[in-house]
Symmetry: C2
Subunit: 431 residues, 2 copies
Amino acid sequence: MKNNKIQPNILPGFMELLPKEQKIFNDMLRKITRVYEENGFKSMDTPVIEKTEILLAKTAGETEKQVYSFKKGSNNLTLRFDLTVPFARFVVQYFNELTFPFKRYQIGKVYRGERNQRGRYREFYQCDLDIIGNNKLSINNDALVISMVSKGFKAIRLKNYKFQISNRKILSSILEEIGVLEKNEAMILIDKYDKIGEEEFNKELEKLVGYEKSSIINKILNSKGSSDEIITKLKQLNLKSEKLNVGIEELEQVRKMLLILGVEENEYVINLKIIRGLDYYTGTVFETFLEGNESYGSICSGGRYDNLARNYTDNILPGVGTSIGLTRLFFVLKEIGFINNYEIENLVEYLIISIGNTLEYCVGIYKQLQNNGKKVELYLEDDKLKKKLNYANKLEIQKVILVGEEEVLKGKIKIKDMVSGNESIVDYDQI
Amino acid sequence: MKNNKIQPNILPGFMELLPKEQKIFNDMLRKITRVYEENGFKSMDTPVIEKTEILLAKTAGETEKQVYSFKKGSNNLTLRFDLTVPFARFVVQYFNELTFPFKRYQIGKVYRGERNQRGRYREFYQCDLDIIGNNKLSINNDALVISMVSKGFKAIRLKNYKFQISNRKILSSILEEIGVLEKNEAMILIDKYDKIGEEEFNKELEKLVGYEKSSIINKILNSKGSSDEIITKLKQLNLKSEKLNVGIEELEQVRKMLLILGVEENEYVINLKIIRGLDYYTGTVFETFLEGNESYGSICSGGRYDNLARNYTDNILPGVGTSIGLTRLFFVLKEIGFINNYEIENLVEYLIISIGNTLEYCVGIYKQLQNNGKKVELYLEDDKLKKKLNYANKLEIQKVILVGEEEVLKGKIKIKDMVSGNESIVDYDQI
């Protein structure tokens, strides 16, 4: 440690990447958002800081404890803890200037002062995608949203992800029909199924609703089989609930649309244990797990909500959306070796190295190659050749153009392939 | 205003864009950073929140008053107010893992609680570009940095920008040579020249250094003529100052390199009044103005510094860099009508509209067109045709594919050009 120097480091729970990984992160982001844009989703950006009264309008105690809030002058300010609340505010604020259905995506950092754990970040990127209707929104959008994530994952060549899909109306109405009075508590418990494990879950559920109802619930939750078979079993329950029938119909329609939108059978399963946040989602819900790595938790989740912005407007704005926690996804993909094998081209194709008094000549080559659409970097330092070649090596630039005074006199340039080590001499005019 | 509803709005001094402008903003960003990447600059990202002791290590009172600082638990936290301080910390923290010269660019939001004025933002994007050497860095990089901005501006078709370039060593040594004791005060005053105007400047300068010295300074500052002529006049001063000679040599070399790097004569002038921050820059300095709109201030500035990170390390890390204040630039470009005329293609080429019970057929077309590389959006709502066409109109999608039940039976699709209004019928197989 040096005298009088401040030790350079960042806060725990904040991610920072070295250039090579940053490039992969950016590449993934670019490919996913490209898919979103090509399908008509508009980019959106909102401030990181908003008024506390706006951001915390509808949240209860748990969120408030986690947020970064502070005062500046007489204003109570909060750093956004998700992109959904600012989105709701945005849609209402610019309502008359937006075209509905409004399809948007947004990438941004959000802040949660959570307990510091491996893989949990206090600052992390979210990549949200939503479709908002004015008064109504077709159920087909639920499938479209899932298909966008599927296309995004395919664009980055991610495999082994599995969407686990349900519809909140189904479980909710079944619990009502079989007379579970503690419906919310039961749903919160079901939401925790994977976290606490089967045994603990059974014990807790029985304590909550009694042995008989707990058996019925368990049987339904653990329906095995193809999506078709699960849907058939749900129909055979023969419960006379309008809400249940709507839920089943919606699930069937989502399934049908997924098929025709090109989301393959092996990309998703129906899992009635998927619940998501209680006070927000109302229909389709889904989480996404990496098969064989489910313990890392969901890498992308989303669903349908009846009304995006009731805190700011009386307009009814139904929507469906999804969010990828990019920072966490990157962490998980690093852990499972995906990042290490991520193939990414080096944008820079050539490094031009001047030897002796040839810089001007080198810049000429640089300009000419760039005019021909080549990606070229100039090495400008007056270093030893070894150091110059080392730069190309470290940065994985495949081809080095070496220009000494002799080459200039002869109107030639030497090209060295850093992978094979081969050298070739070409005429300057041939570039 | 509605009952019990929170009025949706954002804080003053924060910029938010509607989708169409956001798209232009993103396009500009993409084009500029593409230039940077193609020339070997690596992307970098740092946290928005850092420890106060890191961010405010070297700043004096003025900055501290403007920053957003707060406590979370026992930590003193600050939102970054520029990208340079985090960059310095980053370079030292990961020193052994970086390849020097380290070329990086970074785009991110920074925070300054400045007095709220038109065109001044409290949250704004900066786009920084820097080259850092380990112990030494060639003067040629100073020109390279300016040429990167030039290429970036050309990529977004910005015209009429003018780099105003100087070298701090020149003015500094001249003031020393003519015996100005109040050198720092004089330089601060010169920095304000354009802000306070000639008359006020002359009065203040005379008060500070006396009539005689003030005349000499004014004559030098207002050297007119081409870059060559100004450099010649500086040489003719015949002051026996080593520092002055170095400054002139550096300026000449930057000028020479700008020429061979393809920065045109009409893109820059030498302006000895350019000073920049006193405690940071040590050689080349530049600002960039829009000709005819100088009153908006500099849209991009930068320069050479001897040592990036003296607060964190004893290593000597000379560098040269530049920063574009993107949020402010966007504001200025809106004001002068550039944004309004910014040409940007609509990524989505086709909107497919289903009429009657033809959705499945439409999705087939959608998939087929996308497989052929076309950018297609599906209209999924069950609305009146007029509303569907209106959606295409508002979002400026040029071609609409209309599929009614009749078209399905005949294996045909109807394509409507929304600009000309022309309709054509093509076979489904022809897509």
